[in-house]
């Protein structure tokens, strides 16, 4: 046998290795589940880097239009690099974009970049499927069905903000139980079917439940698989809750000195200065100096707001049992024009120019004109509930806080409910008006809600929601 075929094989093998090294990407960025992002929602972001030093990933979404021009929303994600393959998973808020570009910078150079087309800015929520036969679900639902491996499902509630349902039949493996709970807590309907119901963890939770196991603002569906209409009925419209809650707040512009007071004080100052000048000499100069100093101190102190930027934060909890879907709303008002920073990762409630920085310390910065308010909403997360309903459907404080203004939708009300204390006699459910009434109108009958300062707590009625 001549040596030439071996030589040819060796050459081919060496070429393949070279291609593998040269053609391998330095970085891959996947926005959304299997690159299917949901606009106007928090999405999982997966960054994979190979042999790249530490740097940062910058995503810029232009939310502008023909009338207003560019309105950029920038997201900055620090990426910890190094030798080998590194994977970073975080959640970012994607507005409805006109263009979305990303670039990964490390060591002062751009090592990778890309863009998402405008057509990908789809607001419809996803139906995730973990199954060897995803087509069966796709035929059942007229929506955005995405086939996802079980191992890629994160255990972060914010990642499921844009997810309507998660279907698991056990034929393609089981996700971590924490991922199932996170998806349900975020408001998704987790449909468990087939072998999934025989999973030990699932079987223990399901027990004797017939169809629906509520978990925070979503739940597990363990009955016959639902159709699209049943899915929509089972879902809690958390966006509507959040919009009603956000509308109930807002920072009020500081109360300024009245125009009459300004007129009297300014006129008095002018008259006294003229009198001081009339006196003349050293006494006149001294009087003028005192007047100037006194008037300056008064002018600076009296009409000045306590801070040029006012921020008020409130939290909304919506839960069932011990677990709640929680998000925090920050109302801002800036008097001077400029950038206002909140040390949290949050999204604006309305289209605004701004920047979201993940990492340590996290921050969200909005660029606002003078005397303009804005509302920032943090990413949702699962948190312990502070308000629940007992077996009789009565409110009970399950945390360590005393809750006030407790109301059952369509039922009685209480002044307060305290942990470890029996309920006081119910009071007449006095009529509430404005935003609180609009919020209560969204809750299912039998649900309870209460306040803890500016925070609102909702315990949803655990019954079937369709």
């Amino acid at each position: 046998m001549s040596g030439r075929p071996w030589l040819a094989l060796l050459l081919a093998a060496s070429l393949q290795v070279a291609h593998g090294q040269g053609g391998g990407r330095l970085a891959e960025v996947e926005v959304g589940f299997r690159a299917a992002p949901v606009a106007d929602a928090w999405n999982p972001l997966r960054v994979t880097v190979r042999d790249v030093g530490s740097g940062r990933l910058t995503l810029v979404a232009d939310q502008g239009n023909l009338r207003d021009g560019e309105i950029p929303w920038t997201m900055v994600v620090p990426v910890s690099g190094g030798a080998g393959v590194r994977v970073l998973e975080v959640d970012v808020y994607l507005p409805a974009w006109r263009s979305l570009v990303w670039s990964l910078e490390a060591g002062g150079t751009i090592v990778a970049s890309g863009a998402l087309p405008r057509e990908a800015a789809d607001r419809r929520r996803l139906d995730l499927v973990v199954s060897a036969r995803p087509g069966a679900v796709a035929e059942r639902l007229a929506g955005r069905v995405v086939d996802v491996p079980a191992s890629l499902l994160p255990a972060r509630a914010a990642a499921y903000d844009g997810v309507r349902s998660l279907w698991i039949d056990g034929s393609a493996g089981m996700p971590a139980p924490a991922a199932l709970t996170a998806a349900a807590a975020a408001g998704a309907v987790v449909v468990l079917d087939g072998d999934a119901l025989r999973d030990p963890v699932v079987a223990e939770v399901v027990g004797e439940a017939a169809t629906w196991i509520p978990i925070a603002a979503g739940g597990w569906w363990v009955g016959p698989p639902p159709d699209g209409a049943q899915l929509e009925s089972a879902r809690v419209d958390l966006d509507a809750y959040l919009a009603a809650f956000a509308a109930a707040g807002g920072v009020v512009a500081p109360r300024t000195v009245s125009v009459a007071a300004v007129m009297v004080a300014a006129s008095a100052y002018v008259l006294l200065v003229l009198l001081a000048w009339r006196v003349g000499g050293a006494p006149g100069l001294l009087t003028w100096s005192v007047l100037l100093l006194g008037a300056s101190v008064l002018a600076w102190g009296a009409p000045r707001p306590s801070s040029p930027t006012l921020i008020e934060s409130r939290a909304l909890h919506v839960g069932v049992g011990d677990l709640a879907w929680r998000t925090e709303v920050h109302d801002l008002l800036t008097l001077p024009a400029g950038e206002v920073e909140v040390p949290r990762v949050a999204r604006p409630a309305t289209t605004t120019t701004g920047e979201q920085r993940l990492g340590s310390p996290p921050a969200t910065t909005l660029t606002l004109p003078r005397w303009r308010g804005a509302t920032l909403v943090e990413s949702p997360r699962a948190a312990p509930a502070l308000l629940a309903l007992d077996a009789d459907g009565l409110p009970v404080a399950v945390g360590d806080r005393v809750l006030h203004d407790v109301r059952i939708v369509g039922g009685p009300a209480w002044r307060e409910v305290a942990p470890g204390r029996a309920l006081e006699p119910a009071t007449d459910p006095a009529g509430i008006g404005g935003h609180a009434a609009a919020f209560e109108a969204l809750l299912p009958p039998g649900s309870a809600w209460a306040r803890d300062g500016d925070d609102w707590h909702v315990a949803l009625a655990p019954g079937v929601r369709w």
Partner: protein
């Protein structure tokens, strides 16, 4: 027993006590009070934009006053000229609390110290520019046009800045933002004006 002030200071206070300067001062302060009251928000919750109008009005009126009185400086004795400079400067400083109240209510991004820094320097600069203008007017025998020249110089300053796209001479834009160029220009003008007045005084003394 009363403390004795330096003569220049006494001269300045005397200018503020009698003559035309107190009348112009009253007019200036009354206009600023009226501007403040008119632009102050009538209802709570409304955006307070009073500072933008008050600061620009104040800046322009003080500049006009300084240019006008500056034109008379070359004719005065050095002591009288120094008294006038001091009186106009004190008058300019007197207007500052009226701007400060508008600043505190409006909360603009421009720092409050800027007005306190720029006012004495710009006033001195405008006095000097006025003095230089006065010398030129007399040399050219155009004194009849003197009352028109102060506003004309201000209009020219605005036009030059707008044309060049800078904030160097324009008191309207310099009132609203920190402008080091404006400060430097008027500082230099003040020094130049003081030197010119000194030279003119020495020359008059020599001729006498």
């Amino acid at each position: 027993m009363t403390a004795r002030l330096p003569r220049v200071v006494e001269r300045g206070l005397e200018r503020l006590r009698a003559g035309d300067l107190p009348q112009f001062g009253l007019l200036l302060l009354a206009l600023l009070v009226a501007t403040l009251v008119v632009t102050w928000p009538a209802r709570p919750g409304l955006a307070n934009e009073s500072w933008y109008t008050v600061s620009q009005t104040r800046s322009v009126l003080v500049a006009l006053l300084a240019l006008g009185y500056g034109m008379g400086l070359p004719l005065a004795t050095p002591r009288a000229a120094a008294g006038t400079v001091l009186a106009v400067s004190l008058l300019a400083i007197t207007t500052l609390p009226l701007e400060l109240v508008a600043h505190a209510g409006s909360a603009p991004a421009t720092p409050a110290w800027w007005a306190w820094l720029v006012t004495p320097v710009a006033t001195a600069g405008h006095l000097a520019l006025g003095a230089l203008l006065g010398i030129v007017v007399r040399r050219l025998r155009l004194t009849a046009l003197a009352p028109l020249l102060a506003p004309a110089v201000l209009v020219g300053a605005v036009a030059i800045d707008v044309r060049l796209g800078v904030t160097l001479l324009n008191p309207l834009t310099a009132a609203l933002q920190v402008a080091p160029g404006h400060l430097a220009f008027h500082g230099a003008a003040a020094l130049l004006g003081a030197a010119a007045l000194g030279w003119a005084a020495r020359r008059r003394g020599g001729e006498a």
